[in-house]
Assembly symmetry: C2
Homo-oligomer: 335 residues x 2
């Protein structure tokens, strides 16, 4: 309704009978202002409904307080929750999140847009194809942290779950509950997380003296996963356990195994997912899964980014957050 242009520090200064600098100082955490003038300023500000203009402040301080986040699909509940946690952690630290969602096609465009808003740093919780971008960002000197994703080149810092360790835990569980023909469905082969989980599984199984019974990759859609799982089940002998690199695929596998092949889970075959999302916690699925400790992952990522922004010493690091195996009904009990 009342479309009056909002008051500026000038107006507040006038009303309070002080200078603009005084106003600015009252809103700057550790600045020299007498209690007296501060009070006057605050009173005047309240009267005029004044609040500092963050855009102008950004321009002046050449720090925007904005952190760019480029997310890809939020269809996977894991990424949705990750985004939520990243954003709220940023807020808690006094930053705001500039969100862009994108597929591989428009990445450059999105990135340019982010940079034009002078983001102080960038968080990349994307699953794939952010590599090129991450590198160019990092080279431009802008602080970047990859989340749930690492670069082979180790050129950019990252925070991920302990995917390798997670893979090993799954191997342990399946071995100990009597499985010997263990298959791995990995989703896109070009994501570091899927690769690491597979390596963990394989290495640990090898220590037990067996290999991975079968391995397949592809898109992590339900359809594609179904195709791959069918192929596995048609092998002779078929696997007696399938480890999927995320819950979405695990549910798809569960569907094929039970609905199409009439197998009993976990008696005939065990299914293990990853991420411990709402998909696995549902009682109808009761999917054994690996929890990535998302809260910690998000916090570490944000804190790492903030540290990077503070110091101009760009020390690289790949932080790994411990994972936890959550046993449910799609695997046999341990004893």
């Amino acid at each position: 309704m009342m479309k009056k242009k909002p008051a500026g520090s000038q107006d507040v200064a006038k009303l309070a009978g002080v200078s603009r600098s005084a106003v600015s100082r009252t809103y700057t955490p550790g600045a020299y202002v007498s209690e007296e003038t501060r009070a006057k300023v605050l009173a005047a500000a309240a009267m005029l409904d004044y609040s500092p203009n963050a855009i102008a402040r950004s321009l002046s301080k050449s720090r925007s307080g904005l952190i760019g986040i480029i997310a890809s699909t939020l269809d996977n509940p894991f990424y949705a929750r990750l985004l939520e946690l990243l954003a709220s952690t940023l807020q808690a630290r006094g930053y705001a999140a500039l969100l862009m969602v994108g597929d591989a096609r428009n990445m450059d465009e999105l990135l340019a847009k982010l940079l034009s808003y002078q983001v102080d740093g960038v968080l990349l919780p994307a699953s794939k194809l952010t590599s090129r971008m991450a590198v160019s960002l990092h080279r431009s000197g802008r602080p970047v942290v990859l989340v749930n994703h690492t670069l082979d080149s180790r050129e950019v810092s990252s925070v991920s779950g302990d995917n390798y360790g997670g893979g090993r835990m799954v191997a342990d569980l399946l071995w100990e509950t009597g499985h010997r023909r263990i298959a791995y469905v990995s989703g896109p082969i070009d994501t570091s997380s899927a690769v690491d989980r597979g390596r963990g599984l394989q290495d640990r199984l090898r220590e037990y003296g067996i290999g991975v019974h079968a391995q397949a990759s592809g898109e992590d859609t339900r359809e594609q996963t179904a195709v791959v799982v069918r192929q596995m089940l048609n092998m002779t002998p078929p696997p007696d356990a399938i480890f999927c690199a995320n819950d979405t695929m695990a549910v798809a596998a569960l569907e094929v195994v039970t609905l199409e092949y009439g197998l009993r889970v976990p008696d005939d075959i065990a299914i293990v997912g990853y991420d411990n999302t709402i998909l696995s916690t549902e009682r109808l699925h009761a999917l054994t899964s690996v929890d990535q400790n998302l809260e910690q992952m998000a916090q570490s990522a944000v804190d790492m980014l903030i540290r990077k922004m503070a110091s101009d010493a760009p020390d690289l690091a790949d932080l790994s957050v411990p994972a936890t195996l959550i046993r449910r009904s799609t695997t046999r009990p341990r004893d």
Copy 2:
């Protein structure tokens, strides 16, 4: 690595041998620049890796190109997808999304932060407790559009699914497939969407000559839903169909009905959800649900907001997007 301070329009102007205004104009869509100078500017810009500073531009034009979005929990896949679509639609229209996630507690704080960044408008896809905020925003003259949510007071514009119509469609389906004891589990009672769906159901059933067999509300958590559903199943007679106001609750209901009570779905009892999320499309659930046409909802919301920002005539409107019933295995076939 190379941490040189980025070039400004000044630098480009100098290199190109023109004035800063010329540079500015080359980057302003409909401005008077000769092809000749434009070319010179572009060349110089490329050389210096220049791109306009959106923060400075915002300050100068007093339009930031930023749209605030306050989302609550993204645990519900519906809201995650909605956020994704809102953000990408905004991008497509040349805007960027400033995201804040929040619970009811810190709303005022979040809002203040958003406003301090001079957002041109605000999108509120939150499920609850945004009413107060929406009103105060709207009164401050800032364009606001509620998404998937309406205000009783009709003081603020909104875009929602046709919840009333969706409720009626469910009533039709259940009636036609022989159900006569139809219960409604609504989730939080204070959300307009849940209320409207319930009204639709009730009104249509009344036209058929029956009432709603039972009705319950509460938090839309899995646990709370289970409690409510158990109470309903213990009634005499129990309902022969349960309509839940979203898929999350419907899955919880399905769990109780099948796992705890051993009922067959849909023979003994039918279950209907809402939102047609990944939860309902899973083949193990195959949940009958109502699709809200999210793409259209997001687009309409963004377009409505943009229209509001353009004209200063703040005409109120509550837009409703048609819903589609998706029949799956938790309801009986229609013939």
